[in-house]
């Protein structure tokens, strides 16, 4: 047994993305990026993770903060903390489900340090932000020493703790696409009482036209399966219809259908329960998002 001591490692605190990427390359996959550190450091203390080097992003320029672009989209730097998201006027007015999800992450202290980039790049299957990322169709910016690229959220989460990021890439930020008039989003969660991670978390983003018809819908689900997924089958039932209770319930019955056979089954919840709760929480998320879209 250990006493909360990590294995030794080399520490780097580069000032540019390029240097950070070079540091990753130098250790050939045996270096870890440190953002807020609230997933990485506990894993290192339990010696589940023992990287040769830690590359701290705290000093890297240009990857912090929230900025509204001229086209109405929002750039969020990867090192933006949950607390900054929760208290951002731009986020609360334009994409409140991001703040809503951030506010449900862990606790006060963790939210002071945990970052949006860390959450997405770590891709914990029960993390809160990935569901919102999927529902709001985040465009995820990744840079290496040589190139920059943008990854659509639908292609970002690949598996358990696995993303589309390459070994030498750094997630520098995300762009939240502009929300059309009549849009609303929400994140709701059945939390694990111990870890406060999501047993099931569902984010919904909807646009409703003045006639009350849902013209677009995206639903992101976390906690239920190996990674955050989009529930297109539920979305399809919503689009083109007025969101009556009946329609929402029908959609919810398809909530997480993509995860059939893949639902997590562990000491906290069975696959069967997660499947059922995915449907319940899909209905709840859609209901709240629809109310917000109509207001």
């Amino acid at each position: 047994m250990t006493t909360g001591v990590t294995d030794p490692f080399a520490y780097h605190a580069p000032e540019t993305v390029r240097e950070a990427s070079q540091a990753l390359s130098r250790y050939r996959g045996d270096a870890k990026l440190l953002a807020g550190g609230h997933s990485l450091i506990p894993m290192m203390k339990l010696r589940i993770a023992s990287p040769q080097a830690v590359v701290d992003l705290r000093n890297v320029e240009g990857i912090k903060g929230i900025k509204e672009n001229d086209d109405g989209s929002i750039f969020i730097g990867s090192m933006t903390t949950y607390y900054e998201l929760i208290t951002s006027d731009v986020i609360n007015s334009k994409a409140c489900s991001i703040a809503e999800a951030a506010a449900q992450v862990a606790d006060t202290q963790v939210r002071n340090w945990g970052t949006i980039g860390g959450s997405l790049a770590h891709a914990d299957p029960a993390g809160d932000l990935p569901a919102v990322a999927v529902a709001l169709d985040f465009q995820i910016h990744a840079s290496s020493a040589r190139s920059d690229r943008t990854i659509a959220c639908d292609r970002f989460f690949r598996g358990y703790l696995e993303t589309a990021l390459r070994a030498n890439e750094i997630l520098t930020g995300v762009t939240v696409p502009a929300q059309d008039d009549g849009s609303g989003s929400a994140y709701v969660k059945l939390a694990n009482k111990a870890s406060h991670y999501a047993i099931v978390g569902v984010a919904a983003s909807l646009t409703i036209d003045p006639g009350g018809i849902c013209i677009s819908a995206r639903i992101g689900i976390t906690g239920a399966g190996p990674h955050a997924v989009r529930s297109r089958r539920a979305e399809r039932i919503l689009v083109g219809k007025e969101l009556t209770e009946n329609v929402i319930n029908r959609a919810a019955q398809r909530g997480g259908a993509e995860l059939a056979g893949l639902f997590n089954d562990d000491v906290h919840a069975s696959a069967e329960y997660r499947e059922a709760m995915t449907q319940v929480y899909t209905a709840r998320a859609v209901t709240v998002a629809a109310q917000r879209a109509s207001n």
Binding site: G4, T6, G37
Partner: protein, 157 residues
Amino acid sequence: MNQEVTITINGTEHRLQVPPRTLLSQLLRDTLDLTGTHVGCDTSSCGACTVLVDGDATKSCTMFAVQADGCEVTTVEGLASNGELHPIQEAFREKHGLQCGFCTPGMMITAVQILERNPSPSEAEIRSGLRGNLCRCTGYHNIVAAVQHAATISGGE
């Protein structure tokens, strides 16, 4: 290889050489003998080790000391000033917000953060704000009362 860090702790600047794996909690406790900051878990769950880093409540067991380079840290030892207890300390004593006392330093620091951000929190806001600090003695009843009392004596409504 050791790294040099400069950290201001409770108003005093310290320049230190530390191995990168030194946690901020270890630096405080083992290097500087500030043992008021306690360590109650190894999964970032219990909050006993909470300190303020640049004003933000922080689990010092989940931060390497090198990450705090250039930061200002306040520990429980730094709450009182000029021999006067901080209102939160006064309130914890007045409302019996502690029993064994082990969680208390971290609990008070988080409470300071809660009140700094919201001088008149509701009971529900206090309870949710304290979610990252575990106490096994008090059932939180008197801790919540202490935070409410601190809000009152600090001038919150």
